[in-house]
Amino acid sequence: MAFITANWNPLGEAFYRKIELYEMGWSLRDGLKECLVAAAPYGGPIALLRQPQRPSSSARPQLEIYSSSGVNMASFPEVVQNQVLEAKVFHSPYGTGVAIVTGASRFTLATNIDDLKLRRLPEVPGLQGAPSCWAVLTQDRQTKVLLANGADLYILDNTSCTPVTPPGLSPQACSIVNMAVSFSYKYLALFTDSGHLWMGSANFKDKLSEVDTKVRTPPKQMVWCRRPKSQQPSVVIMWDRLLLVAGECTDTIQYTLDEESVCVAELDGVRIVGGSRHELLQEVPSACQDIFKIASMAPGALLLEAHKEYEKSSQKADEYLREIKEQSVLGEAVRQCVEAAGYEHEPETQKTLLRAASFGKCFLSNYPPEPFVSMCRDLKVLNSVRDYTVGIPLTHTQYKQMTVQVLIDRLVYRKLYPLAIEICRYLKTPEYQGVSRVLKHWACCKVQQKEEPDESIAHAVSVKLGEAAGISYSEIAARAYECGRTELAIKLLEFEPRSGEQVPLLLKMKRSQLALSKAIESGDTDLVYTVVTYLKNEMNRGDFFMTLRNQPVALSLYRQFCKHQEQDTLKDLFNQDDDHQELGNFYVKASYKEKKLEARLSLLQSAVDEYNKARNEFAAKATEEEMKLLRFQRRLDEEKGEALLGLSLQETLHALLTSNFHKQAEQLYRDFRVPDKRYWWLKLTALAEKDDWEEMEKFAKSKKSPIGYLVCCLYNLYTKPFVEVCVKQHNKYEAKKYVSKVTPEQKVKAHLAIGDLEGAAEAAIERRSEGEISTVLSRCSPTTDRALLERLNRARSTAAKK
C-alpha cells in the first residue's frame, strides 16, 4: 500500500506504471519463442501457434486459444493459407474487419467478418513483395490502408492510391520500418531506420513530436499507449530485450524484457504478454496521480489521509477533514477517491479508496449516492472476471466502453454460465436480456452433449429454464436439430408456448403432420397456410389431399385458395373426397362462365351426373330442366329471333307472353309443369303490362282453363289477382269488370282497392261485418257523402249489437 507509487515511472508531466495482471498458467517450454501470438483487445483471449522447428509433413501445428491468464480454452488444427503474406484484424464501424496482403502485393479487406464482403483495393505503384510496414485505419466511416514502401507512404482507399508525406519527418530517414495507428484511429506513429519515432495525427495535418530513440534496429512491435483524456500521447516500442515508452518529451522510459513478449493495444494502455507473465502498461490516470503522488495535497489525497488517521483513531483525522472542508472541496475529494478506485487493479487499494470515499460522504448532506454505488457494483463484477480462473483483465474504462451486455456474451461464449447468471442477477439486468439469454445459451450448449439421452436433457432444460421470461425454446430446439437430434428438438418444442415459433422448425425437421396440427391449434391461419403451401410442394398430390382430408380447417383454407387461384385443383380435391355434391356445384358454377352453349350444356350434364351420384335428385332434376330450358331458348332464338338465352323460366315465360307467343308459352308451362297459380299470375301480369285487356277478359272467362277441377274455389283465388293487376296499371275501369267476380269475403277489399268507396260500403253493410265497416269508415274523408257515413255508422252499431 505504501509503495503504490513504486512502479511509477515519470515521462514528461505524466507517470507510467506497469502492473502485473497474471502469472501465466500455460506451460510453454521455450516461452513465446518460435510462437506466433495474437491477442484480442478488451482483455480478450490469446491465440498461439507454435512454429515447428522442423517442418514435418505429418504433424499439423495446433492453433491454441488461451485466456489472458494462460488457461487453455480450445485448440484447432491450423489451416494453412499460403497466398496470404500478412493479415491484420481491425475494428470498423461495421464490426470486426480483416485486411490481408497477398503474395501479389495486393490488399484485400472486409469490414465485417460476419457479413463477409471482400473488397480488393487498387494496386500500389512500384510495390513488389510485401510493403515494409502497413496499417489499417478508419476515417469518416471509410476503411483505408496506410502503407510504407521504403521512405514513401501511401493511403489506399476503395478507388485510389494517394502518396502522403508526414509533416516534419526528419530528413535523415530513408525508410519507414514500422508504424502504429492509435486505438481511436486518430494518431499515427512512424519508426524510421534512423531510429527516429515520429508521432502525429493520422490525417497527416499535425505533428506531435519526434523522438530519437537511438536504436536503429527495426522494432519487433510498436503500439500506441493512450487513454481517453490522456495527458500525452505515447508509444510503446518493443525490441528483443527492450521495451521503450516514448512521449512528447525527449525522455523515454525503458524497461528490460527478460523474455519473449507480445504487446496488445488496448483502449487505455498496452498489455504485455510474456511466457511467464502478463502485464499492463498504462499512463497513471490523473485521479490516481492526484491521490497517490508523493506529497500530494489534492482533496482526494487529503481525504484518504484523513480516513487513515480515523481508522487509527487519531484526532489528526479531524484536522485533515477540516482542511478539506475549509476549501469546500469535500465533494471533489469523494469523487476523486471513487474515480481512482475504478483505476486500481488491487482489490485492497480499491477498498481503501472506497472506504475513504464513504467516510467523506458522511460529512456531505446532499452528495448523490449513484456514482459510489455503481462503482462498487462495477468493481465487484470486474474483480470477479479478472479472477485467474476466468482471466479477463478488463479495466474499468474498457468495461464501460464494452458494456455489460458484451461482457455477458463473452462469459457465455466461454461457457461460464453460473458466473454470467450471477452477474446478471447482481446487476438486476432485465430477465429478457440477462438471465434468460444466458440460460438459452446454456441450453443450446446442453443439447449438444451427445452422450446424454434425450429425455434427461429435455428434463434438465425444462427444469432449469422453467418459466423464465422471454426464453425461446424453438431456438434451443433448432440447435438440437442442427446437431442431428430431431427427437430431442421435438421434445423441446413442446415447451414452446408460441406456435408461430414451433411450426417453421417442425417443417424444417420434416414433421409436417405435427406442424399442421400445431398450426391449426394456434388458430393462426397464416401459419396453417404456410404449412399447407409447404406440404403442397413437398408431397405428392394424393398424400397431400389425404393429409388435408383429416384437417378440416386446413382443407377449407386450401379450398378458399383454390377458388381464387386454381379451379382445377378444387375439382381434384372434390374428386378425391368423392364429394359429388360439391362437384356438381363446381360444374354449375363453371357453366356460368362458359359463353358457348354446347360447352355450357356439357358442363351442366356433368353436374347432373354428379348430383345423381350424390343422390341429390332435386338438384339433378333442376339442372336437367335448366338444360332443357336452354335448348328451348336456343331453338326459339334461332326461329323467332328472340333473345331469351340465359333467362330464368319465369322471365322466359314473361318474355314469350309479352311478345304474343302464347302457344310457346303454353308449351313451356306444360313441359316444365309450372304451377297453375304461377302461370296465371304470369299471364295476367304480362297482359296487363301490354294493356291487352281484351285478351285478359278472354283469359278470365276461358272455360278451358287448365284447372278443370274445383272451378269455384279457383275462381275465387284468381279473381283477386285480376283486380290487383289492373289497379297496378291504373286501369280502374278494367278492374271494375272483375270486382263482381270476387268472393264475398274479398269484395270490400276489392272495392276499396279500385277506390270505389260506395261499392265498398254497400258490400260491407251487406255482409254486416263490424270489422269491415270500420275499415271502410277509416277510409272516409270529410268530403264523403254524409248519408253514406250515417248508413255505415248505423250498420256498424247493429252489427255490434249482434
Binding site: 393462426d524 391461419t525 397464416d526 332435386f618 335448366e626 323460366l649 304451377p675 304461377r678
Partner: protein, 617 residues
C-alpha cells in the same frame, strides 16, 4: 319521446382516440414512401378511410391523386403508386397485373402495398408467385376499429360472416382477437369475459395469447366486462324485418359506414343528400331507438316546439333579437334542417311500409315467430315467390320458416325450392347449397318429423305437458331449436295481450312486441346470473362453446360495482343489426348499464342473405 337516462348510468369511454391512433399510423406509413404518389384505395375501404383521414390530410402527405380500385388497367402517370387494400387475393392479383404490365412496357415505378388491417401469408405468397415480391414493399395499417358512434365500433369486415361461418375460413378470427386486444390495451383491463360460440372462443383465445405476449400495464379500467357472441348463435333476429327507426332506415336506404344517402323522394328536391346518422344529430338521436309507429308523433311534436321557438321572435325588442340571432337561430336552423330530412325519410318509409303488403308481411313474420298458422305462412311465401316479389325477401321468409320450424318438411322444401328456382333462376341452386350448409334453410330429416308433430300438438294443446314433450324431442335434433329456446327464454310474449309501443316494457318492442331478440336475451341472462349457471339447457341447444372467465387478476374486487363494471362491451362476430343495438340500449337504460357494441360489420337481413348468394361468379 326521449328516455331519461338513469342517473347512475356511467359515462362511455372516449373512442375518438382509436381514430387518432389509426390516422397517425396511416400518415407514418404514407411517409415511408417519400415524395408524391398516387393512392389506390379498395372500394370498401373508402368510407372508413374518410372517417379517419379526409382528402386534405392525404394531400398534405404527398398523395397526388386518389383512385378507387376497380380491377382495371390503371392510367396513373405517377412514379410512385401506393395501394391501400384489404388482404384479398383478388386485389393482390390485380396489383400483380399492374406491376407486370409496367414491367412489360419497361416502365419503372415504386410500389407500396398497405394492407389493412393486416397482411396474410397468402397475399405475400401470391406476390412471390407472380415474381413481384422484390418490386413492392408491403406494410400493415392496423386499422382494426372504426368508431361509428359513441357506442358502436365496427371492424368493417362484412365478409367475416361468409368466410367464417360458410367457408370455414378462420382467417379473420385473429383479426377479431387483435381488435379486442387493442381495446383491452387502451380501455382495459377487462375483469370478466363471457362468450358463446366457436368463433368467439377462438377470438378470445387469440386475444389472451396476445395479452400474454405483450407487456402489461396497470391502469384504470374504463371497460369492465366483455361479451362475445357468434352471429350463428342467433340467425333469427337479423332475418326479421326491422321496425325501429334506425333499423328501418338501414333496411330501406342502407346506412353505409354511419352515413346514409337520402334520395330525391326524401329531400323533396332533385338532389340526393348524404347525412351522417349518429348521436351528433339531435333529432335522430331521439328517434333512432323508437318503434316506427311512434316516430311521426314525435316528429310533429318536435316541429311544434320548433315553431314555438321561432315564434318567440315576434315579441322581442332589438336587443333580444340580436342575442336570439347570434345564439339560438343557428341551432334552430340546423334542427329545422334535420327535422325536415327525417320527416321526409319517415314519409317515404311510410309510403313503402304502411301498404297492405308490408302489414301482411309483418303478420306472417310474427306468425312464424309464434309458430302459429304455419300453413298459411307457407302459402303466403309461395305467393310471394310466384309473384316474383323481391328475391331476397322471399329467401328471407324461407329461411325464417326453416329456422323457426327446425327445417322444412321434405315436400315443402322441394316444392318451394323448385318454385324459387323457376322464379329467380337456376343459379340459386348454389345459393341453396350454401343456405343448407349454414343451416339457414334445411330439410327436416325423417327423425325430426316428430318435432314437427309435437309442435302441431303443442299448438293444439298448448299446455305444460306439451312443453315437456318438446324438450324431450328437441334433444333429437341439433338444428336451430328455436321453439324450445323461445319457451325457455320467454322470447315470444303472449300474443293476446296488447303491447303498448309507447311505453315498451321489454326488448320485444323492437319487433312490435312480438319477439325478444335471442342474442340480447342471452346477454341479459348471462349478465344477470354472472355466468352460464342455470342456462345449461339453453347452451346445449345452442351447441355449447360458452365460457365465462374472470380475466383480471383483481378478481376479488370485481364484486365492487365501479363505473367500469357497468360498461359492457358486446362483440358480435359476424355482424349485428341496428335493432339489436336498440334493444341493448333499452336494456342498458333499464339496468343502469352502458353497452358498447363492437361488430365485424353492421348487418341486416338483406346483407346477410346477399353474402350467401353464389349466382354469377
Amino acid at each position: 319521446m326521449a328516455h331519461s337516462v338513469r342517473r347512475d348510468a356511467p359515462e362511455l369511454p372516449d373512442f375518438s382516440l382509436l381514430k387518432r391512433l389509426a390516422r397517425d399510423q396511416l400518415i407514418y406509413l404514407l411517409e415511408q414512401l417519400p415524395g408524391r404518389k398516387d393512392l389506390f384505395i379498395e372500394a370498401d375501404l373508402m368510407s372508413p378511410l374518410d372517417r379517419i383521414a379526409n382528402v386534405i390530410t392525404l394531400k398534405q402527405h404527398d398523395v397526388d391523386k386518389l383512385y378507387k380500385v376497380e380491377y382495371k388497367p390503371i392510367v396513373s402517370t405517377s412514379d410512385q403508386l401506393c395501394f391501400l387494400i384489404r388482404p384479398r387475393i383478388k386485389t393482390v392479383k390485380w396489383i400483380c397485373d399492374v406491376v407486370n404490365t409496367d414491367k412489360a412496357f419497361g416502365r419503372f415505378r415504386r410500389y407500396k402495398i398497405i394492407f389493412s388491417p393486416q397482411k396474410f401469408y397468402a397475399c405475400e405468397n401470391l406476390l412471390e408467385e407472380q415474381g413481384i415480391f422484390g418490386d413492392v414493399t408491403t406494410d400493415e395499417w392496423s386499422f382494426y376499429l372504426l368508431p361509428l358512434d359513441d357506442d358502436i365500433i365496427s371492424l368493417e369486415l362484412p365478409e367475416f360472416f361468409r368466410d367464417n361461418f360458410l367457408e370455414g375460413d378462420q382467417r379473420w378470427v385473429r383479426t377479431a382477437g387483435s381488435a379486442l386486444h387493442l381495446l383491452h390495451s387502451v380501455y382495459g383491463p377487462f375483469s370478466k369475459v363471457y362468450g358463446i360460440g366457436r368463433c368467439s372462443k377462438m377470438a378470445y383465445e387469440s386475444w389472451r395469447e396476445q395479452v400474454e405476449e405483450g407487456e402489461q400495464r396497470a391502469r384504470q379500467a374504463e371497460i369492465g366486462n366483455v361479451f362475445l357472441i357468434d352471429r350463428d348463435v342467433d340467425l333469427v333476429t337479423p332475418l326479421c324485418s326491422q321496425v325501429v327507426y334506425e333499423g328501418l332506415v338501414d333496411d330501406i336506404f342502407r346506412i353505409k359506414c354511419g352515413c346514409v344517402e337520402f334520395g330525391p323522394d326524401v329531400t323533396s328536391s332533385d338532389k340526393s343528400i348524404k347525412v351522417m346518422l349518429n348521436s351528433q344529430d339531435k333529432v335522430f338521436n331521439e328517434i333512432r331507438n323508437e318503434h316506427f309507429s311512434q316516430v311521426f308523433g314525435f316528429l310533429s311534436q318536435k316541429a311544434r316546439n320548433l315553431q314555438t321557438a321561432y315564434d318567440k321572435r315576434s315579441g322581442m325588442d332589438i336587443k333580444q333579437m340580436k342575442t336570439f340571432v347570434s345564439e339560438e337561430l343557428k341551432g334552430l336552423k340546423q334542427e329545422h334542417r334535420l327535422l325536415s330530412l327525417h320527416i321526409g325519410a319517415s314519409e317515404s318509409m311510410m309510403k313503402k311500409k304502411t301498404k297492405q303488403d308490408f302489414q301482411e308481411l309483418l303478420k306472417t313474420e310474427h306468425s312464424l315467430l309464434e309458430g302459429f298458422e304455419i300453413r298459411e305462412c307457407i302459402s303466403y311465401i309461395e305467393e310471394h315467390i310466384n309473384r316474383q316479389v323481391s328475391m331476397v325477401e322471399s329467401m328471407r321468409l324461407l329461411c325464417l320458416l326453416s329456422l323457426t320450424e327446425n327445417g322444412l318438411l321434405p315436400k315443402d322444401y322441394r316444392s318451394l325450392k323448385a318454385q324459387f328456382l323457376q322464379s329467380y333462376g337456376i343459379d340459386h341452386l348454389l345459393t341453396f347449397s350454401n343456405l343448407k350448409q349454414l343451416g339457414l334453410l334445411v330439410e327436416q330429416q325423417p327423425g325430426e318429423t316428430l318435432t314437427v308433430m309435437e309442435s302441431r300438438v303443442g299448438k293444439l294443446v298448448n299446455d305444460k305437458t306439451a312443453g315437456k314433450l318438446t324438450d324431450a324431442f328437441s334433444s333429437l335434433s341439433k338444428k336451430s331449436n328455436f321453439r324450445a329456446l323461445g319457451r325457455r327464454l320467454n322470447l315470444v310474449p303472449k300474443s293476446d295481450e296488447e303491447y303498448d309501443l309507447r311505453v315498451p316494457r321489454d326488448m320485444a318492442y323492437i319487433f312490435s312486441g312480438a319477439y325478444i331478440p335471442l342474442s340480447c336475451k342471452l346477454i341479459e341472462q348471462v349478465l344477470e346470473r354472472d355466468g352460464w349457471t342455470g342456462l345449461e339447457e339453453v347452451t346445449r341447444m345452442l351447441n355449447g362453446h360458452e365460457f365465462a372467465v374472470t380475466a383480471g387478476s383483481n378478481g376479488s374486487d370485481a364484486r365492487v360495482k365501479t363505473d367500469s363494471q357497468r360498461i359492457i362491451l358486446v362483440m358480435f362476430l359476424g355482424g349485428c343489426t341496428f335493432s339489436e343495438i336498440s334493444a341493448l340500449r333499452f336494456l342498458g337504460r333499464e339496468k343502469g348499464l352502458k353497452f358498447i357494441v363492437v361488430t365485424t360489420a353492421i348487418t341486416n337481413s338483406a346483407r346477410l342473405l346477399e353474402s350467401m348468394l353464389d349466382n354469377h361468379a
